[in-house]
Each structure stands twice: as structure tokens, then as C-alpha cells.
């Protein structure tokens, strides 16, 4: 067991079950952004411009809302089924390309926003996954994110676009993870996650 500095607040526990207000600061940010941009559109392009924008946003809303609902349920299932403490040992520093491929696949399959992903990332790094795998996981989650591909891009940009983007992005998390491993080897002892040593575990 490695020793850990006592932490006042364990970020790994900040997942979606912790009550956060539904209407928080970020929501106000969007309200403000919408109000200011709507005013600007009306001022510069008149009511016609605003009407075009509103029609567009209503169409987008009706397109994505049902898919977000199903996508979130899938996300909830994946979150319940995957246990970072069981996965991390497979992603250790000596896991080679297999570990990077697995981390990439897991990242692509992890749905949900940063609220869902970062606690997993933190738990993975605490449980002994190496930083290369963590970087591959995070890059795959953000770049490949299958749920975003299906919810946003497939209906609004078409299947050719989705295929080209997915294929082009597929090898990139692996390369990023590999480079992260090289960097860690070149600069050992980078503190990760509030003062922890990097290459623990394994």
C-alpha cells in the first residue's frame, strides 16, 4: 500500500450522485449567452435573423433531445457495470500496446460529460493504471466519444462525416498515450493528482 496525503475532499466521490443544484452557475452562463447573442442577432439582422436562429435551435433541440435521453441511460449502465478498481491493474505501466488499446476502447465507450469521466480517470490513476493509459483513455473519451458521435454528428453531419472522423481519430489516442509514456520515462516523478507519485501501482 502506498501512503497518501490526507485529502479534505476526495474528488473521486464527486460523481453525479452528489446533489448539485439543477440550475447552477453554468446554467446561468447559458441563459446569459443566449440572451446576449439573441439581442445581438436582433440588433444586427433584425427579427428575421432571430426567427431563423430560433427555428434552427428548435430543430436541433427536437433532433437531439430523445437521443440524449437514451445516451444517458446507456451511460448510466456502463458506469454501473465498469469498476475502475478492477480495470486499473490491466492498464499498468507494463501493459504495453495492449493496455493502450484497452484504455482507448474504454475511453471511447465512456459516455457522459466530464462529471462522469474525471472521477473515473482519477480512480484509475489511484488504482494503479499508468499515466500513458490514463492519457489514452482521456483522449479517446474526448475525441472518439461514441455517444457524441451518434447523438450529434450522425443525424446532423451524415454518415460519411462520421466514418471519416472516427477512422482518422482512431489511432490518435494510442499515439498520445505512447508519447505520454515516453515523457513520463524522461521526466520521472511528476506529481499527479495532488502530490501523488506517478509510477506507483503495478
Amino acid at each position: 500500500m502506498m501512503t497518501e496525503a490526507p485529502q479534505p475532499k476526495q474528488p473521486a466521490e464527486q460523481d453525479s450522485t452528489t446533489p448539485r443544484p439543477v440550475f447552477d452557475g453554468a446554467s446561468w452562463f447559458f441563459v446569459l449567452l443566449a440572451a446576449v447573442s439573441a439581442l445581438l442577432v436582433t440588433w444586427i439582422e433584425g427579427i428575421g435573423g432571430l426567427a431563423r436562429a430560433m427555428t434552427q435551435s428548435a430543430t436541433l433541440l427536437m433532433t437531439v433531445a430523445p437521443m440524449i435521453l437514451v445516451g444517458l441511460f446507456l451511460g448510466g449502465l456502463v458506469k454501473e457495470l465498469s469498476d475502475p478498481r478492477r480495470i486499473a491493474p490491466v492498464l499498468g505501466a507494463r501493459s504495453g500496446w495492449k493496455g493502450l488499446v484497452l484504455a482507448t476502447a474504454l475511453g471511447a465507450a465512456t459516455p457522459g460529460g466530464p462529471f462522469a469521466a474525471f472521477p473515473i480517470v482519477y480512480a484509475l490513476s489511484l488504482a494503479g493504471a499508468d499515466m500513458g493509459a490514463v492519457v489514452a483513455y482521456l483522449t479517446a473519451w474526448s475525441v472518439l466519444g461514441l455517444h457524441r458521435l451518434v447523438i450529434w454528428e450522425l443525424p446532423l453531419l451524415g454518415s460519411d462525416f462520421v466514418v471519416a472522423r472516427a477512422l482518422a481519430s482512431l489511432p490518435l489516442p494510442l499515439i498520445a498515450g505512447f508519447i505520454a509514456r515516453l515523457l513520463i520515462r524522461a521526466l520521472p516523478g511528476i506529481p499527479i493528482g495532488r502530490g501523488r507519485a506517478v509510477s506507483g501501482g503495478a
Binding site: 464527486q14 453525479s16 450522485t17 439543477v22 446554467s27 452562463f29 447559458f30 449567452l33 443566449a34 447573442s37 445581438l40 439582422e45 431563423r52 436562429a53 430560433m54 435551435s57 433541440l61 437531439v64 433531445a65 430523445p66 440524449i68 437514451v70 444517458l72 441511460f73 448510466g76 449502465l77 456502463v78 458506469k79 454501473e80 457495470l81 460529460g113 466530464p114 462529471f115 462522469a116 474525471f118 482519477y122 490513476s125 499515466m131 492519457v135 482521456l138 483522449t139 474526448s142 451518434v150 450529434w152 454528428e153 453531419l157 451524415g158 460519411d160 462525416f161 482518422a168 481519430s169 490518435l172 499515439i175 498520445a176 508519447i179 505520454a180 515523457l183 511528476i190 499527479i192 493528482g193
Partner: protein, 171 residues
């Protein structure tokens, strides 16, 4: 749109069946997660989409074509990567902006670099999640290992589209 919803359902139903067989209470917990997250998104989504549509309306199509059009090549891909990293907020405002830009004349590789720049550089996410949870050294390591990803995604996608005749320029 129906096709995309169908794909999601085709994936979700077997996963749900598997979860049910392993432990039926998993479905309930997943449903609670869904309700909490959906409520949060439902509150923001209409405003985020309105903002995205208005921003896309405000940027003249000529500007979009000049900076991010298919003919802008590598310079456009580089600009799109950086621009993507600066987009505010989560996918619910950034994706619509990228998608509306695509419909107003941005090139396919440029849009792909923009979406990827948003997801990899993610300035908003670094500030609000990554640096508080993982610390700045990790942020530095991750960016040092992945800064090339957005432009490369755009370039690869352009090459693939040319090789296989994929229509990635939306307009």
C-alpha cells in the same frame, strides 16, 4: 435522425439486458443517473442551442468560408483546431456551433479539427475539472502528449475522404 436513435437503442437494449441478468438493481441506479443528468441538461439545452444558433447566425458566412472553408487547407485546419479549443462549455453548445458552421460553409477537415480541438484542448474543461482533480502537472503531460491530435485528425480525415470518396464537406 431516426437511424441514429435506432443505433443507440440497438446498443442500449443488449447492455441493459446484460446488466439486468447480472444485477437487476443496476437498471434502477442507471435510471436515477439518467434522470439527474437529463434534468440538468434539459435546463441548459434550449439556451445553449439558442446561443449556438445565434452565434452561427452572427458570424458572416463569407468569414466562415474564408477562415474555415475547404480551400483554406492546412492554415484553416490549424485555425480550426485553436478555435475549437476556445469554444465555451460542453458539447451542448460547442457541437451545435461546429455543426452550424459546417452547414454555413466550413470544410469537412476543418470542422473535424475544430471538434477535435474542442475535445482535446478543452480550455473550459481544464479550468473546471482537470486541473482541480488531476493537477496542473497532469494537464501539462496530457497536452504535451496530445497537442498534435486535432490538426492530425483533420488532415487524416481529408486524406481518407479523398481516398474513399467520402462526402465530408457538408456544403
Amino acid at each position: 435522425m431516426l437511424g441514429a436513435l435506432l443505433i443507440l437503442l440497438v446498443v442500449t437494449v443488449p447492455v441493459a439486458a446484460f446488466a439486468w441478468r447480472r444485477d437487476p438493481s443496476t437498471l434502477g441506479r442507471a435510471a436515477i443517473f439518467t434522470r439527474v443528468e437529463f434534468l440538468r441538461i434539459a435546463v441548459r439545452l434550449p439556451f445553449a442551442l439558442t446561443a449556438a444558433a445565434c452565434i452561427a447566425e452572427l458570424v458572416p458566412e463569407r468569414t466562415i468560408a474564408a477562415v474555415l472553408g475547404p480551400e483554406t487547407g492546412l492554415a484553416g485546419i490549424a485555425a480550426a483546431s485553436v478555435l475549437g479549443g476556445l469554444l465555451p462549455g460542453g458539447p451542448i453548445v460547442s457541437f451545435p456551433i461546429a455543426i452550424l458552421f459546417a452547414h454555413q460553409g466550413a470544410g469537412g477537415p476543418q470542422v473535424i479539427a475544430m471538434i477535435t480541438g474542442w475535445s482535446v484542448y478543452a480550455f473550459h474543461r481544464v479550468i473546471s475539472f482537470e486541473s482541480p482533480i488531476m493537477g496542473w502537472p497532469f494537464v501539462g503531460l496530457r497536452l504535451a502528449a496530445s497537442w498534435f491530435v486535432p490538426p492530425l485528425a483533420g488532415i487524416f480525415a481529408g486524406v481518407l475522404a479523398a481516398a474513399f470518396g467520402l462526402a465530408i464537406n457538408i456544403r
